[in-house]
Symmetry: C2
Subunit: 194 residues, 2 copies
């Protein structure tokens, strides 16, 4: 038995606890009871902050999506040749993924069972679509190898970036700048000496 | 209500049904009851074939692992410069993943809650380790770019290959040979014109 703590949560700190529990148990497997236990405050205290677990999910994936879409508005993503913008967006996507690790992890695991999840999936597809568009432009400008299939390359690029959530831990192993640089190097220059 | 079908299963066809259910519900979320319903035969008929669901998991991940370790014994993986062997193993790993899609998908989702799962994780690490070894050799032979971190590159390479399970569907989209060729091209030569 733990004594209920006094509710000293802000919307952000409560969100951080919820995201940790969602990532551990899965969103479907998390009840308000689980959230109340993890936060050490009563369910009614949680309801003081949010309407329910779906609102917490929405805020969490919105934070991840805001981070990702924010990249597309940065100067590095809007000016210059498409291939430069594509490299920039690739590096920044890896960086945002690591900076917002639990939020992006949750976003990548969303299934589509609720309205919020379907909205998150649609927004993710939109982001992927915009990156695919950059790839297409870079190919049209002659900066990508001619034998590249844009659709496949987009999928493999995101496959590589998103896999970072499986093993990246900020407290040990490679630091974020090394990881994002390695992603850009492998995706654009390849492993092999030419 | 469905009438129980007569048990016309072989070990392989029963395994295929079990793997489908494991991938849909998660291994932890699958009961013998679920397997019995999906197969349309009684639980005692299933017990005629196997001791329980963990044996089905073991057979399924063994099939995936046999496919993967088989690659390392093929002539393309054992003769020639390390970089050529590495490219060969990369292509073949993608091919085996697609040919044995449900089995490798299950292998990649294993958590480590049971002895069988821990064994599967250890074998997967062993496979990754052998590929990392090839990368190290290829770097030592001067065939990989000098700025490559072997550990990071191995992770990103498997991240890219393993992400194929998220979207590859044999009945639509890109065909397996295009996908495996795209993986090798992107990983070794990169997207960008040099």
């Amino acid at each position: 038995m733990t004594m209920a703590r006094r509710d000293t949560y802000t919307p952000d700190t409560l969100l951080a606890v919820a995201v940790r529990v969602f990532n551990e148990r899965g969103y479907d497997g998390t009840s308000m009871e689980h959230l109340s236990k993890a936060a050490g405050i009563s369910k009614s205290s949680i309801y003081h902050h949010v309407r329910g677990k779906e609102e917490l999910l929405r805020r969490a994936v919105a934070r991840a999506l805001d981070g990702l879409f924010g990249i597309l508005a940065e100067p590095g993503a809007t000016g210059g040749r498409a291939v430069e913008r594509l490299e920039y967006v690739t590096r920044r996507t890896a960086e945002v993924l690591m900076a917002e690790l639990p939020y992006v992890t949750l976003l990548l695991r969303v299934h589509g069972n609720t309205d919020t999840e379907r909205w998150a999936l649609a927004r993710r597809r939109e982001f992927d679509q915009q990156v695919a568009e950059l790839l297409k432009q870079a190919a049209a400008e002659g900066d990508l190898r001619a034998d590249i299939d844009v659709r496949l390359a987009t999928r493999l690029l995101f496959g590589m970036i998103n896999s970072i959530v499986e093993w990246y831990r900020p407290e040990r192993g490679s630091a974020a700048p090394e990881v994002s640089a390695a992603v850009v190097r492998m995706a654009f220059a390849g492993l092999r000496v030419t």
